[in-house]
């Protein structure tokens, strides 16, 4: 049956368009219930004995939530207790329009087999489709559609019931009017709260209920604390006319009464507007998109340097105190220091996500309302309602914000879930993954369904399509404990005297077909995240550690890049091919190094390693001659206890010749591939660039070098590399490394981009005109795209529309860049956390270090032994500050009589500061040089003998 849906739409040009869509109704849409004998469904999603024990509904029943229930109570719906739910298409569509994240979560639930959620396409069902009536709003129509569908289910289940076990349908809605109308038509209907509270044996679900606005027990007095937000239409008009500005709200980390709004201007012009005071912040939360209005110039203020943290009990009553704090901000600032100041007039888009943090239990024992302090200091404290405060205290929990009424000092939220006790390793790991937005849930069933079936073997057809390289002596060299081996190498002499060098990369794209759930999940994850002792995979483990991993002595699919070179490492021929390889050995860097060094070993693998090593050295020399930078950052490795997984010792990573050997060939492969795909697809090649840093970035490096009378040239990468090589100071062997560490800090971030969207392709650090990532498809999604492009270029695979769409590619590279950045932050945070654990177990240590930076009130010290960086503050809150003189040109800092400058050798004592359980940190205090009133006496260090060093 054909119906048409008609609606009018405004076009961008200001015209009005009438749109007519054909809408087909069908009578072969099944109800999805096991009891139904009428519907000819293949598999029924909804169970026969749909029992959720409830006081209200003692009979088996299915639940139909309305849109608002899904939107607000998705946390509850996700709970494994809630099963047998019918999601109507009407609801699904509305959710999709109103909130993308909730929609995704809902889709995930529906895919989960154990949840027994069923999507009923009521909009296309002949008996449940309704047309909008005159005078009915879109919302009313949808509510009616939900009621009609619920009614249909009621009758349908009743008629198809042969054994009559009283299966019923329960409609959940929080809308009073809807509820009333549903009751009138004889439906079973409950408010969501009513229903959840009636569930027997699951009291914790009640805490997850989001607070709805029309809750009777309003939390605070009716006194208005904040000005009203303007409606969206007014905001848009204001932005159009220029009286308001749109930007991203960035709360200050140090001062809860201060924030900036970052306004993205045309091109490079971006400005920041300062906001000060609760009233002006007007309930905006970090990362919200807001509309701000500039204040008149005479009310502009300067950013304060005061550190203010929102502390103390819930202070709705004592606002006087607050006012004082605000007054403390208004220090009269010099005219020049004043910045454009504004106030938030409306919120354009909230960017709330569930926040990690801890509960501050209320002082009143019986109280169910508590404040929650997020781990991120830029997020305000959130008021939640819970009955399990005593159990939650001391745990890391997640809380979602539900709303921020204008008469409440804090936003209202609800408890989502507990992550575990604070300070525990698993909990902290979870927190840092969540805070860095790293998708780390187990892969969903939908994703796993695209994995190849085990046992897996290469089919003869596949074999015929590929080049058989199984006979070659291929081997892989990786760090110890690596299970996702994505590259392997070979090298052999050719009859004509040249050598053939092959880089073989795991052929992940063979398993990861474009567009399926597995591919989409990998594209979203973007990268594998390596934490200390844990790996968050981009593709499921079956692929990453088995089928794609180029382990030794098994046949694996590979994508090979094969060069013919002469002995001067000049490339004579390059070719790319899909292949099958059989690696002869998986070595660690150390093992490979040993084989090369051991002159008695004469086997094929060792010989090819030696040849590779020889070529790599030549390649490296070429590269450095061209101006590639050798930078340095200290990477640490923890020695973990094999049982408790606690760090026992920590060591800076050691680099061997074989590291650089593998790296050299990977770089070569990446460059060759980049050139190939760019030649083939100038508009949509995914490349990686590293922009040259602006000269001003080098200021700190130049100043630092100058203090030791060393000249650094920054005109070009080559000049920089050369002058860094020359920079040596007598009797200070570590100076060069320090300088390289500083130089690394001056660099820009390397980013992925789509070649059709940019013109500057240069990779500054590698001194290569073009570069991409090809060699790690198991752990980076960019490589997957590059593999696909290359496969198309050599005619080994088909193309697909998204691959050739430069807009989509560009959006994808943005996500990859974001994920990459976040994974690095997460990695750093993980190292920091393990460092803390380490120092917790080691107690107090005295170590020697170097001053890396000099700040106004502190010096930053690097301990080379641990690769650890820490700040030594000279002004502490409770102590009178010593006399400090900061000289920006040096930069030097004079503390009382002693002057600190960069590269000074100091001695510090390191300990763990656990005073704030959410933000534990490493504290460093000065021991040497001794400055009266500043340095501390060297504390007793526990004898090391007590802790035997365990080497693995």
């Amino acid at each position: 049956m054909l119906k048409s849906k008609i609606f009018v739409k405004k076009t961008r040009a200001g015209g009005v368009m009438k749109i007519v869509r054909e809408h087909y109704l069908r009578d072969d849409i099944w109800c999805g219930s096991e009891v139904c004998a009428e519907c000819k469904q293949e598999s029924a999603e909804l169970q026969r004995d749909a029992c959720i024990e409830s006081n209200l509904c003692t009979y088996p029943h299915y639940v139909i939530p309305d849109t608002n229930v899904v939107l607000h109570q998705i946390d509850v719906l996700e709970d494994p207790v809630i099963r047998n739910v019918i999601i109507l298409q009407t609801v699904l569509q509305e959710v999709r329009h109103r909130s993308a994240p909730v929609y995704k979560r809902l889709k995930d639930i529906i895919h989960e087999k154990e949840k027994h959620f069923y999507t009923f396409t009521n909009e296309h069902h002949r008996e449940t489709f309704i047309e909008r009536e005159p005078g009915e709003s879109a919302n009313d129509r949808n509510d009616r559609a939900i009621r009609v569908a619920a009614k249909w289910y009621c009758q349908h289940l009743k008629t198809s019931e042969s054994d009559a076990d009283g299966l019923k349908v329960v409609l959940l809605t929080n809308d009073q009017g809807n509820k009333q109308k549903a009751e009138e038509s004889g439906l079973l209907v409950y408010r969501c709260e009513e229903y959840i509270k009636s569930l027997i044996g699951n009291p914790e679900l009640v805490d997850r209920l989001a607070l709805s606005n029309d809750d009777k027990n309003e939390i605070t007095s009716s006194k208005l604390l904040f000005p009203e937000h303007l409606p969206l239409s007014k905001i848009q008009a204001g932005i159009k006319s220029g009286s308001f500005l749109q930007g991203t709200f960035r709360a200050s980390r140090d001062n809860y009464l201060e924030a900036t709004v970052f306004i993205q201007g045309d091109g490079e012009e971006s400005t920041e507007i300062l906001l000060q005071g609760l009233q002006n912040l007007n309930r905006a939360v970090y990362q919200d998109v807001v509309a701000v209005q500039l204040l008149p110039r005479d009310q502009w203020v300067a950013p304060s340097s005061v550190v203010l943290q929102d502390e103390g009990a819930a202070k709705d009553d004592n606002e006087e105190e607050e006012d004082e704090e605000e007054k403390a901000l208004r220090i009269s600032a010099a005219e020049a220091a004043r910045k454009p100041t504004g106030k938030v007039v409306g919120i354009i888009k909230r960017n709330w996500r569930p926040f990690c943090g801890m509960l501050n239990a209320s002082h009143i024992k019986e109280s169910t309302r508590h404040l929650f302090t997020p781990a991120d200091r830029r997020i305000p404290r959130i008021r939640i309602e819970t009955r399990q405060a005593s159990t939650l205290a001391g745990q890391r929990i997640m809380v979602a914000i539900d709303g921020w009424p204008k008469h409440s000092r804090y936003p209202n939220g609800h408890f989502v879930r507990s992550l575990g006790s604070a300070g525990e390793k698993d909990t902290e790991q979870e927190v840092l993954l969540l805070e860095h937005d790293v998708p780390h849930q187990a892969f969903s069933q939908a994703v796993l369904s695209f994995l190849p079936e085990m046992p897996w073997a290469i089919t003869p057809e596949e074999m015929a399509r590929r080049e058989d390289l199984r006979s070659l002596t291929v081997c892989s060299v990786d760090p110890p404990g690596c299970t996702d081996i994505d590259d392997a190498l070979h090298c052999r002499e050719l009859d004509n005297g040249n050598v053939e060098v092959g880089v073989h990369i795991a052929d992940v794209t063979h398993f990861l077909r474009p567009g399926n759930a597995l591919d989409k999940e990998a594209a979203n994850r973007g990268t594998t995240v390596y934490l200390c002792g844990k790996r968050i995979d981009m593709v499921p483990e079956l692929l990453s550690s088995n089928l794609c991993s180029l382990r030794s002595n098994v046949e694996r699919l590979a994508f090979s890049c094969i060069w013919e070179m002469n002995h001067k490492a000049e490339i004579l021929k390059t070719r790319f091919t899909k292949s099958v390889i059989n690696s002869k050995a998986s070595l660690t860097y150390a093992e490979a190094q040993m084989r090369i060094d051991d002159t008695t070993m004469k086997d094929d693998t060792t010989n090819s390693l030696r040849a590779l090593n020889k070529l790599a050295k030549i390649l490296k020399r070429y590269r450095i001659e061209k101006g590639a930078l050798t930078l340095s950052s200290l990477e640490v490795r923890f020695h973990m206890d094999s049982e408790t997984h606690d760090p026992i010792d920590l060591q800076t990573k050691e680099l061997m010749e074989t590291n650089s050997m593998v790296e050299e060939f990977m770089l070569l492969a990446n460059i060759s591939v980049a050139q190939k795909i760019y030649d083939e697809f100038p508009d949509c090649a995914m490349l990686r660039k590293h922009p040259a840093p602006p000269l001003s970035n080098y200021d700190i490096l130049l100043k630092a070098a100058k203090s030791k009378d060393v000249e650094i040239h920054t005109d070009s990468a080559k000049a920089l590399a050369d002058s860094l090589d020359m920079a040596r100071v007598e009797g200070f062997p570590y100076f060069n490394t320090l300088l390289r560490i500083l130089a690394t800090r001056c660099m820009m971030q390397a980013v992925y981009f789509c070649s059709g969207m940019d013109t500057d392709f240069h990779h500054y650090g590698l001194a290569s005109p073009i570069y991409t990532h090809f060699t790690s498809p198991i752990r980076r999604y960019a490589d997957i795209i590059v593999h696909r492009l290359l496969a198309v270029a050599i005619g080994a695979d088909k193309t697909y529309p998204d691959l050739m769409d430069k807009q989509k590619q560009s959006a994808l590279s943005n996500n990859l860049n974001y994920r990459h950045k976040m994974s690095q932050y997460a990695q750093r945070a993980s190292v920091a956390f393990h460092t803390q654990l380490f120092f917790k177990s080691r107690g107090i240590l005295n170590e020697e270090g170097f001053v890396l930076f000099v700040r106004k009130n502190a010096i930053i010290v690097l301990i080379p032994k641990f690769g650890l960086e820490g700040t030594v503050f000279f002004d502490t809150k409770d102590k009178a500050a010593p006399h400090l003189v900061f000289d920006e040109d040096g930069p030097t800092l004079k503390v009382e009589q002693h002057t600190f400058s960069i590269f000074d050798r100091v001695k510090v004592t390191i300990s763990l500061d656990a005073s704030n359980i959410q933000h534990q940190k490493i504290r460093m205090s000065l021991i040497e040089p001794v400055i009266a009133g500043v340095s501390v006496p060297a504390p007793e260090v526990e004898p090391l003998a007590k802790k035997p060093k365990l080497d693995r």
């Binding site: 609606f7 009438k18 909008r132 005078g135």
Partner: protein
């Protein structure tokens, strides 16, 4: 335009019949052939109507769009006409064959309908000098069997009656910027008052008499024809002589009088019919093009 070959004997037969007020198909001189009207036939227009008159069939679709008012009349909307002579109607229209007729028809229609006495143009104004509704009237000739003007004018009147223009609100902010807002209710729309919309009556002079709604054969015998647009009150808003041949003042006067009479009689049943169809609402069985 479609022509038929008529022999001398046939001509005489037709002429003599008309002289005695008895036409070949049995009608009197001032009778129309059987007429069928259906509105709301094209769903993606704002108003549409299909009219068949004898074997003549025309389809009219009206699209409303927002445009800028004409500078001379800043507070009025306007209509635009386009007549498509499809080769479906007659093979002569193939290629650019129908272009001349199309232009002639649309020019005439523009004269007849685009004035404030026929259509409430002021009602089409959204904000004076800035925005107004423009009604694009598209006429499609499906089949030609004489008397195109009358069929088209009836179809236009029916389509205008059927037209539903989405209601818009002008929201002004404090800076004076104006924003057009659409109502999100598809039923919330504006209807046009078609009371004063005229119908065209074509009179063909055959011998010493004139006939209404001439068939192609009668047309072949006629010396000249006159189109008269008449409102429901009998006011003549436009007369025009079309085709070759000449008319003496005496017969023009007579023909105008007859046109007025016929036109007045045409309006009342037309309006009744349209209202009846409208009142059926959604229960109406649509006939469309296959019925």
């Amino acid at each position: 335009m479609a022509t038929v070959q008529v022999s001398e004997a046939e001509k005489v037969y037709i002429l003599h019949g008309i002289r005695d007020d008895l036409r070949v198909d049995g009608r009197g001189c001032e009778d129309y052939r059987h007429m069928e009207i259906e509105t709301d036939v094209v769903s993606n227009t704002d108003g549409s109507a299909k009219v068949t008159l004898g074997h003549t069939a025309v389809l009219v679709g009206i699209k409303a769009d927002i445009g800028k008012p004409r500078p001379m009349v800043p507070n009025e909307g306007y209509l635009e006409f386009f007549v498509d002579c499809s080769a479906n109607a007659t093979p002569e229209f193939e290629g650019r064959g129908g272009e001349e007729l199309g232009t002639e028809l649309s020019n005439t229609l523009y004269k007849v309908f685009n004035n404030k006495h026929s259509v409430d143009l002021k009602g089409l104004c959204i904000s004076a000098g800035e925005h107004c509704w423009v009604l694009y009237v598209d006429v499609l000739l499906l089949q030609c069997d004489g008397n195109l003007y009358d069929a088209i004018s009836v179809a236009i009147k029916a389509a205008l009656f059927n037209t539903k223009i989405p209601r818009v609100h002008i929201s002004a902010d404090e800076e004076g910027g104006k924003e057009i807002e659409l109502s999100d209710d598809p039923y919330d729309c504006m209807r046009l008052n078609v009371e004063n919309v005229p119908c065209i009556v074509t009179l063909c002079k055959v011998g010493h008499r004139h006939v209404v709604d001439a068939t192609l054969q009668e047309k072949a015998c006629s010396v000249a024809s006159l189109i008269i647009s008449v409102t429901h009150k009998g006011t003549v808003t436009c007369t025009r002589k079309v085709g070759g041949g000449s008319l003496d003042p005496e017969s023009i006067f007579e023909m105008t009088k007859a046109g007025k009479r016929v036109g007045k009689a045409l309006h009342a049943p037309l309006m009744k019919l349209l209202q009846q169809e409208e009142s059926l609402g959604k229960t109406r069985q649509k006939v469309g093009f296959l019925g």
